[in-house]
Amino acid sequence: MSLFDHTIKELEEKLHNKEITVQDLVDTSYNRIKEVDDKVHAFLTLDEENAKAKAKELDNTKDQSQRLFGIPGGIKDNLVTKGIRTTCASQFLDNFDDPLYNATVVDKLNNEKAVTIGKLNMDEFAMGSSNENSSYTPTRNPWNTDHVPGGSSGGSAAAVAAGEILFALGSDTGGSIRQPAAFCGVVGLKPTYGLVSRFGLVAFASSLDQVGPITRNVEDNARVLEVIAGHDEMDSTSANIEIPSYTENLTKDVKGLKIAVPKEYLAEGVAPEVKESVLEALKVYESLGATWEEVSLPHSKYAVATYYLLSSSEASANLARFDGVRYGVRTENADNMIDMFKHSRSEGFGEEVKRRIMLGTFALSSGYYDAYYKKAQKVRTLIKNDFDKIFEDYDVVIGPTTPTPAFKVGENTDDPLTMYANDILTIPVNLAGVPGISLPCGFSENGLPIGLQIIGKYFDESTVYRVAHAYEQATDHHTKRPQLGGAN
């Protein structure tokens, strides 16, 4: 058994009782990375020297009351970290060794004395659902390394699943936290849009991006969210609301809870074994005193098209900043400035990133704006209205996180549209802006995890966590560990 099979709360107690030290925790992390990361490839950059020095310092500190004191975590590589290389898994930022400041969420982790172990692999600029778009070695699924870990926060989910760290931060624009969490059998939450600061998150699609935690259990997830949530004047879209104690509300029961199950989420295209696991989970909720009914989210079938128009449009604007002037890798093949921009970008960006910049530039270009971009914004309203209507009568929406368990490496890379269809159950949540969590609810016949998605009302993460926790306590899926070799 690894120290990382304990909850953060249990480790806090062990630290308090001097059964273990922060150095033990940090050593556990790096030892495990040395043991398995040449198979998993979850990390792009390690900060070992600093982390070990910090662990020593923390062990000699009197005040150990901070909420993540000594807990080893990892940061997705699209969150800037002062003095630690930040690449977004792109060759364009291969030399970005020394960012000038920390993302607000990174500062918040530091204030609560978490220890940053390193930076986590991802699809380049968070564009992808499999990690195969990482311009470095793509991450593999710890449950079966022939399979993808999901994406774009694939490194974050895989590192937590493989027991390399206790928690990770990811980002979710169309499912990039929940989908890899489902594929890797861990817990991942996309908060309500605006709950967590985006300052220092390298922007992909600003109206959709949210930072959130990935952990091995619901309680740890709630604890990390408590730390990173909250208003930030550096992010003008950050909501100025009171942050409740998610961990305190966790253990209340779900008697009388009203669950909505969209028929579109169990329709054709969802693998039978996924559907079965979700129906089993609903039985668990029934046994806990909740009720569920089938409902409809009639516009969800338009979500993928809406999402790709909007997110690519926003991305084409956001990625204009990568011009080879202030940071990043500049081409050596240009004599004038315009060519320098063009060649730096074409050499630095991977295929999927270029495809999306092209799609977005097209959708925003003169003569097409109304037909594509504005049309998609209007359909977004319809998708949001679907959720608003359901939440008048129900407390949460439940369905699968993904239509299938993790697919094989290389299986979906030929056709972008097949790859995009993977996100059909997660994208509507981003378009509406509501919170959603994925947690393990079973395994496929060939031993790959299946994720249950719980979607809540705006800023009602408390209910989402409580509902997730009730299920987790009634089942044992979250205690299963991938067999990567060695003690886990």
Binding site: Y193, G324, R345, I357, M358, K375, Q377, K378
Partner: protein
């Protein structure tokens, strides 16, 4: 439905400041046609009286006080630059 031509792809690539080879243009024409073709399904929906959503939270004109603050030094601003000279970012000539 909008048919996407190779010339359009070249024009969009220029707008996006991307250098593309003939081979890239070919592939991108196919890819964009397929994705835009897929997106045409949105036209099944009547959205004439629907307001567009830009942001899901109803936030308007969020401002903070415009006060000077210590941020980064000139030296720090330049430290990740691929090329610099005399306290400036250096770029290739703009005029031919």
């Amino acid at each position: 439905m909008a048919e996407i031509t190779k010339d359009q792809v070249k024009h969009v690539a220029h707008l996006a400041r991307l250098a593309v080879t003939e081979e890239d243009v070919e592939k991108l024409t196919d890819d964009l046609s397929a994705i835009i073709g897929y997106a045409e399904q949105l036209n099944e929906l009547d959205t004439e009286n629907v307001e567009p959503t830009t942001h899901v939270l109803d936030l308007k004109n969020v401002m903070r006080k415009d006060e000077p603050k210590k941020w980064i030094t000139q030296e720090e601003a330049l430290k990740n630059a691929p090329d610099k000279e005399a306290g400036h970012f250096r770029v290739p000539s703009i005029l031919e």
